[in-house]
Amino acid sequence: MLVVIGVWPLALVVFYSVHENFGAESVFVGTQWYSQAYFSSDFQNNLLRSFGFSILALTLELPLGLFIALRLPRKGKLLSALVVLMVLPLLTPNIVVGYLFKALSLPNTGLLTRAILIFGLDLNLNNPIAAWCVIILMDVWHWTSLVVLFAYAGLKAIPEEYYRAASVDAASGWAVFRYVQWPKLKLMLSVAAILRFMDTFMIYAEPLAVTHGGPKTATSFVASAFFQSKKTQFELGFGAAISVTCFAIVVVFAFVLFKLVTRQSQTT
């Protein structure tokens, strides 16, 4: 029952992606929408940029989040205060995060613009590199806390005895991390990585707010194009073809990561 409810909307998307849709009628067109999407250079470039963005965001957020989780105090008021603070960005709607960072980097009046000016640099969102830096910074601000919480939950699941055993063996800090903490953290971190990959890969609202996908197309990603094709021209099939592709990519990523994690745990 649950499976049916779950699969039905997804099946609809797949259905759209192989049909030409005119209101109530639809004609089967096979892979036409897919080839149209795959051969458009817009889509190809967006796809590359999405991959780039996801990889950059993940390489910053995962180690940072892990590192902070390892350094968090174990208990007490301080911990609660820190957790409240870390949850706040997670409770901020994406669109607000986008506008907040746009406000931070407004020419002349943004805090970030001013701060960078101290170092003699000019933050100009018309510069693709600057635009990317702001968007990456935004994502790190918004989502690193999620990685921290996941990693922290994984750490808390390690029984105290493990650490005692390790200290009896006079294990070094690195050895404790490698053989006591890492095996437990692996799964939590990969779940966090999958969630973050999905979100960063399908990001669109924030860059849209900060840069409108520009300068030119420097910060438009897969989902931004997809959003436009859904809202403006309403080419259902085209949008659906992109959706199915993106979903497939995310699933493959998740699958590979899970395989890596579980195989490793069998060998070690």
């Binding site: 870390m86 669109i95 607000v96 506008y99 406000a103 699941a157 989902a223 859904k230 959706s243 998740a254």
Partner: protein, 267 residues
């Protein structure tokens, strides 16, 4: 684990988290002119207009009410569906159990934007378009799998002997679930509720698309304002600050449970 020294990196991270939040707060007290034309750290000419606007124009504050209604609905539905499901996943053995359990996660991997069109169509067809329950159900699509994952971890941590002794005490399955299991895993339920809440409260693509007038939530209104007027920064900042309040209240209510729930293992 030995106590970690209160280190530099965490402090730096805290500062990094605080700066944009600080800016968000100051923005909400600034006038639009001040935001776009003068650089001031503290509001030069503090104004409450942004907040007044939210609380006097009914479409704005009703937005919070609408969002509140479907978020509560969603949390309740998600938990009532997920709890028996998680119990089944944890206790009974059936074919395809493991692949089914893992494939649950894939639902969470669907970006809401992918599902906008099919959901709009389905809810339109069954006449639920522009109702709270439509948004709540749409969000369940993403929240139920996560809730099952979270709860399953906690239920599996309970020895099956507890089920048996409850059965000996004359509990039916239903009364066991309500009277024994729920109190035992209350911390984890709080964690699951919090995750559902978090997703539902900030999600805006589906909630915007599935509503028109009667149930337009605050995030949908924000989207509209943001796309019509090129950045009403002050108002948007004020709206999101007010939007923090339920989140923080909810968090403080379940805080102790939340930290305990984390301790149990699976988030």
């Amino acid at each position: 684990m030995k106590a970690q020294p209160w280190p530099v990196v965490v402090s730096l991270y805290v500062v990094f988290l605080l700066i944009p939040l600080f800016w968000l707060i100051t923005l909400s007290f600034k006038t639009e002119v001040e935001i776009t034309q003068h650089f001031t750290i503290w509001p030069h000419d503090p104004t409450l207009d942004n907040f007044l606007l939210i609380f006097t124009v009914s479409s704005w504050w009703m937005g919070y009410v609408h969002a509140g209604i479907y978020v509560v609905m969603n949390v309740l539905i998600s938990l009532t569906v997920a709890l028996p499901a998680a119990y089944a996943f944890s206790r009974s053995k059936f074919r395809m159990k493991k692949p089914l359990f893992i494939s649950l996660l894939f639902f969470r991997l669907l970006a809401p934007i992918i599902m906008v069109v099919p959901f709009t169509e389905i809810f339109y067809d069954i006449g639920l378009f522009d109702t709270h329950i439509a948004v709540a159900l749409a969000h369940c699509y993403f929240n139920v799998p996560i809730a099952i994952w979270i709860l399953e971890g906690a239920i599996s941590a309970i020895p099956p002997e507890m089920d048996q002794s409850a059965a000996v005490d004359g509990h039916s399955l239903l009364s066991f679930l309500c009277r024994v299991l729920v109190p035992t895993i209350a911390p984890t339920i709080a964690v699951a509720a919090f995750f559902c809440f978090m997703f539902s409260w900030v999600e805006y693509v589906l909630s915007g698309a599935l509503t028109a007038v009667n149930a337009k939530p605050i995030s949908g209104i924000m989207m509209r304002v943001a796309s019509v007027s090129e950045g009403d920064y002050g108002v948007l900042a004020a709206v999101s600050l007010v939007g923090f309040v339920p989140g923080i209240v909810f968090f403080l209510l379940v805080r102790r449970h939340l930290l305990q729930g984390f301790a149990i293992g699976r988030v």
